[in-house]
Amino acid sequence: MTDAPILTVNNLSVAYEGGGTSHTIIDGVSFTLRRGEILGIVGESGSGKSMTCRALMRLLPSSRLRVTGGSVWLEDGRDVLSLSQGELTQVRGRRIGMIFQNPASHLDPVMSIGRQIAESIRHHRKIGRKEAWARMLDILRQVGIPDPESRANAYTHEFSGGMRQRAMIAVALACDPDILIADEPTTALDVTVQAQILRLLQQLRDERGLSIIFITHDLGVVYQLCDTVAVMYAGRLCEYGAMHEVIHRPRHHYTAGLVACQPGSEGGTGRVHTIPGQPPSPGDMPPGCRFHPRCGAADALCAARQPPLRETHEGHACACHHPVGIEAEAEA
């Protein structure tokens, strides 16, 4: 990892407008990605992880969703949010590759998997059919598709869930991007194939300086792969910092809850630990800290004022009025 930021996201906000109502879905998210860095994004389901990544590539899924503020700086100083369509197309396949959360709807059902990948390679690089086909087979093999020569002719519906996911990874990697945005790319993979993919990503990072944003629910995967972690709750970043810091010393009460919910390797039976209460719905966000109705440490301040994201330690920021462990440390 070098210090040069390759992507700087500043105060990114997204709103939903439709049916006479309007509400914020992403509220002022900021982070930086350095060359060769692997950033993990975790957080509750529906907190806006996918939306953040789609917004920064200007790939919002519906016309009712709009970026309402912020900037996304590339290494060369251009802001993705103000690129022309032509520049944007170039940035997308070539500089930034994206693995979508639902592979089935991003793969073409009527074109064989092999052709899709080969065409996307040819779309971005000037190489011949044969060469593209060979490169496609090579990538399928790298992501662990058995017998790629014969499976490349299969169609999406003939692939298992995990094979589709790997095809999606292959599409994203086919064009050698500088940045890879991977939205839960291993949820349908068994753990040995997952380990193989994680290694492949690490290898690409080491050899080519690939930078990765990796969305996942599995803190074990974060631990094995990431350098830094951002935690999202209800459309906001609630914690952001070096991976070991965040996982071993979570400061935000939501993160602490998540870590405590991890089912652990020892097994055990009976009910699983969960964070009490339900996440808020986008149209009806609580005031103050959005986690306060579910937080054990909440007081009147939490209910009234939104805590800003601020550094508690070097390289570790948290948006909480009463960060876990901070007072205890101050007294000691």
Partner: protein, 348 residues
């Protein structure tokens, strides 16, 4: 087991015909997605089905509920074979079983709102008159941790995890006796995963629900399931009570799986090459034990015949498993390949 057997699958196989090779001249081949799989599920029991991606878990799940192809075998529900059922029998299967599909977006009709998607199930199964329907929908949404304000959204306006929970709510709406849950918590954060797992555990006990829980998250499987079956390349290679399988796996593939679980533990970083070599293809199954080309313990005997299951309630299909041909007295799967008498002489 004392509880009555709800589902008894015998020697199920599923083959998919493959297109001829590119010129259309090659031989007609087929892909063996599921080969000779047997499995029993008692009422109130949860069986975890884990294994390699592409090993046939979803195909198996769809086949037993008659939602997909089935080439050979029997599927007994309360002793009645459903493999070729039609008419009223098939209708009974539909009423009493439910599948939660792996792809939450793909399995929902993009044009239907959440209210319509769940309402449809309630209507088809005659669960509620139009009057009580909305209240029931809200109740089901609450069960899976979703807010009633999402009722009028379509799948495209929902996050991955929200879609997944709509799929779960639709399955619960049927009030089935048997559920096949295919990766039903994969897109959820751990806290909501926990909620769903707790819900399924509760329903299992209260309603005596039988369940096949297909998942890659072994920690969740360990928490939820009474028994576990491990699939590799279309076959079950190990099966047994969950804790026994995790504590002392008897098939080398199961052991590799357990070693590849990503943990928050500096002493347990992921192996650099979890399984060496290329995964074999279901079109050209390897001779003998299908795992032998990648097995760290493989030996020449493994290439000759498909190893039979050995063991009782905890059984494995490996000649090195306790009771297997090369480990008749052993208690555990060996850590390294033991030499046969002839090999020992040769190396001396």
């Amino acid at each position: 087991m004392s509880a009555p057997v709800l589902l008894d699958v015998r020697n199920l196989s599923v083959k998919f015909p493959m297109a001829r090779s590119r010129m259309g001249l090659g031989p007609r081949r087929s892909l063996n997605a599921v080969s000779d799989v047997s499995m029993r599920v008692a009422a109130g029991e949860t069986v975890g089905l884990v294994g390699e991606s592409g090993s046939g878990k979803s195909t198996f799940g769809r086949a037993i509920l008659r939602l997909g192809e089935l080439t050979r075998g029997e599927v007994l529900l309360d002793g009645q074979d459903m493999a070729r059922a039609r008419g009223e029998d098939l209708a009974r299967l539909r009423r009493e079983t439910a599948m939660i599909f792996q792809d939450p977006y793909g399995s929902l009709n993009p044009r239907l709102t959440v209210r319509q998607a769940i309402g449809e199930v309630l209507h088809v199964h005659g669960k509620k008159g139009a009057a009580g329907r909305d209240a029931r929908i809200v109740e089901l949404l609450e069960l899976v941790g979703l807010d009633a304000t999402l009722m009028d959204r379509r799948p495209g306006d929902l996050s991955g995890g929200q879609c997944q929970r709509i799929g779960i709510a639709r399955a619960l709406a049927i009030e089935p006796r048997l559920i096949v849950a295919d990766e039903c918590v994969a897109a959820l954060d751990v806290s909501i995963q926990g909620q769903i797992i707790n819900l399924l555990m509760e329903l299992g006990q209260r309603m005596h629900l039988g369940m096949i829980f297909i998942a890659h998250d072994l920690a969740m499987v360990r928490r939820l399931c009474d028994r576990i079956a491990v699939m590799y390349l279309g076959r079950i290679v190990e099966e047994g009570p969950t804790e026994q399988v995790f504590k002392a796996p008897r098939h080398p593939y199961t052991r590799s799986l357990i070693e590849a679980i990503p943990e928050i533990d500096p002493a347990r970083m992921l192996p650099s090459a979890p399984l060496p070599g290329e995964p074999p293809s279901p079109v050209n199954l390897p001779e003998g034990c299908a795992f032998h080309p990648r097995c760290p313990l493989a030996r020449s005997e493994c290439r000759t015949a498909v190893p039979p299951f050995v063991g009782g309630a905890h059984r494995a299909a490996c000649i090195l498993a306790p009771g297997g041909r090369l480990n008749e007295v052993g208690e555990n799967l060996p850590e390294t390949t033991p030499a046969t008498p002839t090999e020992r002489i040769e190396t001396c």
